[in-house]
């Protein structure tokens, strides 16, 4: 025994490591139902005490376990309040947004009910009310999932309304399966307009459920003067290298995702040179924008599953809608990744991206929420990001960001001149295309022609 103790004395660091591991594990155990309740560890690859470090990252300190402090966050509380308010409003109207959970993997219900929800939330804007009188009762619009049909891409489609996809229609676990690009590459065609579609009015297309519809048109940079561009590291690149900073307000930071969208502290820049850090929630509460571009979705690919992501995204749009009643909201589809990445990465592959895009595309209403998919211009026919545009397969190279900027210029919505001019300064001689311009240009991204 004595000999054993003497040996122990010879290895102080070893002992300290064992001891501290024990201590941290105890901490993790003590807080496992409280502070660490939300965290998961993989027992095969991670120590039990890993939750302590995950908590630390979110500001939960080990000593909180002793003192019993439960962290609170003002921004989060505010957000919670807003969300519950939204829920209350939603319940008060016909939209019934929360009927979703009665079917475990199929978000059929929310797929179809959400347009109404957003229609409701747009009401405060007052701009388009006339246009969107309750066309159909939401109750009628909930289709029977049993009747939905599988199309040639394996997605479930409502036969009465082919533009609506069942977001989570892939079999379980497929989200983590790497599929060859060719299997999914063109799946997003389903939420785009068919090649030979003819629009009869200049406001046709775009997921519109009712009322007036709009098509994408070309604008110039003045359009961005009252725009807010929100996004993750990809948007950071757009700001730094896409020459967007002089024209638009940009709020972006890497690792932004739909789960921390409102509460994460982000870098905010404006054309007049402002640079500050703020959260999206604070910004939306303090300023009004006429256009909001939202580009998130790549970071949370690893977080299952598409349905949760979809719910969260919808919730986010609801908050933005409420706080920015006059804004045109652009849902930017998640940009695909390169073939090399897609074929080797279990998480960041185009199968998953298409699935998620399919889900969020259905949130557009063609009225004040629009879905913008840059992938057709950045990807080859298999849906793989052109390798020359990206070095890591996920982000555009600096020199390719201007292409994104141009894409946004070429695909903008304006419902009237106010949308175009916004509140920004009007330069002399700026050409403002009128709403009466005939619309043969750019049928590209729309669907919704099934609407009558």
């Amino acid at each position: 025994m004595k000999k054993f103790l003497r040996r122990l004395k010879q290895m102080p660091l070893f002992i300290l490591l064992l001891f501290s591991t024990g201590l941290l594990s105890l901490t993790a155990y003590a807080g496992k139902d409280k502070q660490y309740g939300e965290y998961e560890t993989d027992p095969v690859s991670e120590p039990f005490c890993a939750v302590v470090f995950q908590g630390l990252k979110d500001g939960i300190y080990p000593w909180d376990i002793l003192t019993g402090r439960v962290r609170t966050n003002e921004t989060e509380e505010h957000l919670e309040a807003l969300l519950s308010q939204l829920d209350a409003e939603g319940a008060g109207t016909a939209a019934a947004p929360k009927v979703t959970d009665n079917r475990d993997t199929s978000p059929v219900q929310e797929e179809t009910t959400e347009p109404e929800e957003h229609a409701d939330t747009t009401q405060p804007g007052g701009q388009e009310e006339e246009a969107q009188q309750e066309s159909t009762s939401p109750v009628e619009r909930i289709p029977d999932a049993e009747t939905w049909e599988e199309d040639e891409y394996g997605s479930l489609v409502d036969p009465d309304n082919p533009t609506h996809l069942l977001a989570d229609s892939m079999p379980e676990n497929v989200n983590h399966k790497v599929m060859p690009a060719v299997d999914y590459g063109v799946a997003n065609r389903q939420y785009m307009v068919a090649d030979d579609t003819v629009f009869n009015t200049d406001k046709a297309g775009l997921f519109a459920q009712n009322g007036e519809y709009y098509t994408f048109r070309e604008v110039n940079d003045v359009y961005f003067s009252d725009a807010l561009v929100i996004g993750d590291s990809r948007t950071v690149g757009l700001r730094e290298y896409g020459d967007l900073r002089p024209y638009a307000s940009v709020l972006a930071k890497e690792s932004l995702n739909v789960y921390n969208l409102f509460t994460k502290t982000l870098d905010f820049t404006t054309p007049d040179g402002t640079f500050e850090t703020t959260t999206l929630l604070d910004l939306l509460l303090s300023k009004q924008y006429r256009k909001v571009y939202l580009s998130v979705g790549i970071n949370e690919l690893g977080i299952p599953d598409t349905q949760t992501f979809y719910q969260k995204y919808r919730e986010a749009l609801g908050v933005i809608r409420q706080l920015q009643p006059d804004a045109i909201i652009y849902i930017q589809g998640i940009m695909h990744v390169s073939k090399q990445r897609s074929s080797t990465d279990k998480i960041f592959n185009n199968t998953c991206i298409v699935q998620r895009n399919t889900a969020i595309a259905s949130l557009a209403n063609g009225h004040d929420i629009f879905y913008l998919d840059m992938n057709p211009e950045f990807c080859d026919e298999n849906g793989d990001l052109y390798p020359e545009l990206s070095a890591d397969g996920i982000h555009l190279k600096a020199s390719a960001y201007s292409k994104w900027h141009e894409f946004l210029l070429a695909n903008a919505i304006y419902r009237d001149e106010d949308d175009y001019l916004g509140t920004g300064p009007i330069e002399e001689g700026v050409k403002i295309p009128g709403v009466t311009v005939p619309l043969e240009e750019e049928g590209g991204e729309e669907t919704g022609e099934e609407e009558d």
Binding site: L16, F53, Y241, L301, I347, A391
Partner: protein, 577 residues
């Protein structure tokens, strides 16, 4: 799994393995090691495991033939140079014994325990510039010091031997027999070769051809078909196999235990991915000695492991993010300051990644009862590029010296031959690192720089040591850029950004370096200090029983764990873009 800096390895595999290993009787620990290594390798890819085991079996069998051939040969080698060398050899041996082996792996004497033994004397030697430095860490250009070439070459050879033949020498063999014997392949060729010896030589040839061919084949397939075809760590274990055969043939390995011990040597998990390329003798595989592990060596192992882990996770991985950022931007669009930041960033990343990994591997070796194998000796303190590579990845440099450079005549056959030999060695070194053209360019550029230093700048560099240091801090980062970028077009683009008078970039943001500088400055400072001041590392190791140092190491370990848990590896927390 095989990544030492992952929670899976540290918290799952390693504790279980160590417990099983320590519970195994010392005599049978190589079996445990072999099984553990097989398990680790199997988690990577079972097919590559089969290849590894097949090559192990082939090499064991051919080794048997070589040994048979040698024992059939007459006691070869006339020790004509015994006298002058034996004295030096004694010195070498003495230094060696007082060196790291006894310090790190063996039980300390009670006196040492109390006072805290002076650790890692080779580092002190490095700083003091004593003979210890030359002896332990000489690589290709051993004849630097004018007039001492012959002597030093002998030193280098003697040193290479000593580790391998120490055990043999204990058996009352004349101390100098080995170096003399080792002179030989050429010598034997001329003589009348007995049949058994011929068979041995054929077996050696066959083994080397098989090993080299499978390495080249895999590298070629990896290049042409799919990069994941290259089995993990193949470059390292193939080199172990070749050195094993050569040492058997030369008689450096005299006593060869059974298959298990040899297989454990080839496959041992601490070294399979990134070396060090330990020699058979260095790992004391050439004896039946049980693998005893003392509390002392476990503690040393843990210390090295934690330091290595910190280098890897807290420096290399952090700096790696910046390097990825630069790649992400696209080399055509980075500003010149950012390009230079990138060159240093990658240099530091590579250094601390590799050094950290080697320390972790060395630490694991200590925990398992092996001697500490050193791979890095503060290369950025070098006084020239040749010296840099005498301090960088020692086991690889020594391998090329012992099995390529010196057998080809080293520097003893005139200047032209020396130049040729250096170019061949560096060309091969480049090829070993990777099959793409940039690695070959990298090797040749280094070869040319070393030749220039050796033949043109020697005098100037001696008079002005600043020249050599400038070479290290200017040319080495540039060569690492060549090493890093395997697309030649990109590489050319990167160099035009480094030296912008050759062309302009596309969509360059001229202030892009500023946010990165603010963000990464602490890492650059830490990396530069650790590179330029060996004392930080040496003192940390030497004072490893000091409470403050202990606390520091403990904190470093858990900070590493923090990064391991909260960054990659956790698919559910993949918020990185």
């Amino acid at each position: 799994m095989i990544v030492f800096s992952g929670t899976e390895f540290i918290f799952r595999f390693l504790p279980v393995f160590l417990v099983v290993y320590y519970l195994t009787p010392a005599r049978h620990r190589d079996i445990t090691l072999l099984l553990g290594s097989i398990f680790v390798y199997a988690t990577v890819d079972i097919r590559y495991l089969l290849l590894l085991l097949a090559l192990t079996a082939i090499n064991y069998y051919l080794g048997e033939r070589i040994l048979a051939g040698r024992s059939g040969a007459p006691a070869a080698a006339q020790p004509e140079r015994v006298q002058p060398e034996s004295e030096q050899l004694e010195r070498v041996r003495e230094l060696f014994r007082s060196g790291i082996r006894s310090e790190v792996s063996a039980d300390p004497s009670p006196r040492e325990q109390e006072t805290g033994p002076a650790f890692a004397p080779e580092h002190e030697a490095a700083d003091g510039g004593t003979t210890g430095e030359i002896i332990f860490h000489d690589i290709f250009a051993e004849e630097e010091a004018a007039g001492k070439e012959r002597e030093k070459a002998a030193f280098a050879e003697a040193k290479a031997h000593l580790m391998e033949s120490l055990a043999a020498k204990e058996k009352k063999k004349p101390a100098a027999e080995k170096p003399a014997e080792r002179k030989r392949p050429e010598k034997r060729e001329t003589g009348n070769v007995p049949a058994a010896q011929l068979a041995g030589r054929t077996a050696l040839l066959l083994a080397v051809v098989i090993d080299v061919a499978s390495l080249i084949l895999c590298k070629y397939l990896a290049l042409k078909v799919q990069s994941f075809i290259l089995p993990l760590g193949m470059s390292f274990y193939i080199f172990k196999m070749i050195s094993y055969q050569a040492d058997l043939y030369r008689g450096v390995i005299t006593h060869r235990p059974g298959f298990v011990r040899t297989a454990a040597y080839f496959t041992m998990f601490p070294q399979i991915t990134q070396g060090p390329i330990m020699r058979y003798g260095e790992g004391e595989f050439d004896s039946e000695k049980p693998r005893r592990v003392s509390a002392f060596s476990i503690e040393n192992g843990v210390v090295f492991f934690v330091i290595g882990l910190s280098f890897k996770v807290l420096l290399a991985d952090r700096l790696g993010i910046l390097w990825n950022e630069i790649a992400k931007i696209g080399y055509e669009s980075i500003s010149t300051p950012l390009a230079w930041m990138g060159a240093f960033c990658y240099s530091f990343q590579l250094y601390f990644d590799f050094w950290g990994y080697s320390l972790m591997a060395g630490g694991l070796g200590l925990m398992l009862g092996f001697p500490f194998i050193m791979d890095f000796r503060h290369p950025y303190l070098a006084d020239g590029i040749a010296d840099f590579y005498r301090r960088w990845h020692l086991t690889l440099g020594n391998w090329f010296r012992d099995y390529v450079y010196i057998p080809m005549g080293g520097s003893r056959k005139g200047a032209l031959r020396t130049i040729l030999n250096l170019l061949i060695v560096w060309g091969l070194t480049g090829l070993w690192h990777g099959g793409t053209l940039n690695f070959i360019i990298w090797g040749f550029v280094l070869g040319v720089l070393i030749i220039l230093e050796k033949f043109l700048l020697k005098g100037a560099m001696r008079a002005h040591p600043a020249i050599g240091h400038f070479h290290v801090w200017f040319f080495i980062p540039l060569t690492w850029v060549i090493f890093a970028i395997d697309d030649l077009k990109d590489l050319g683009m990167y160099f035009t950004r480094l030296f912008p008078f050759f062309g302009t970039g596309v969509a360059v943001n001229h202030l892009d370096f500023w946010p990165y500088l603010k963000l990464y400055l602490p890492y650059f400072v830490a990396a530069a200090l650790l590179s330029a001041m060996s004392q930080i590392f040496i003192r940390t190791v030497r004072n490893r029983r000091n409470p403050i140092v202990l606390l520091l190491l403990l904190v470093l370990f858990w900070v590493c764990v923090y990064y391991m848990v909260t960054t990659a590896g956790n698919a559910f927390m993949y918020f990185s873009f």
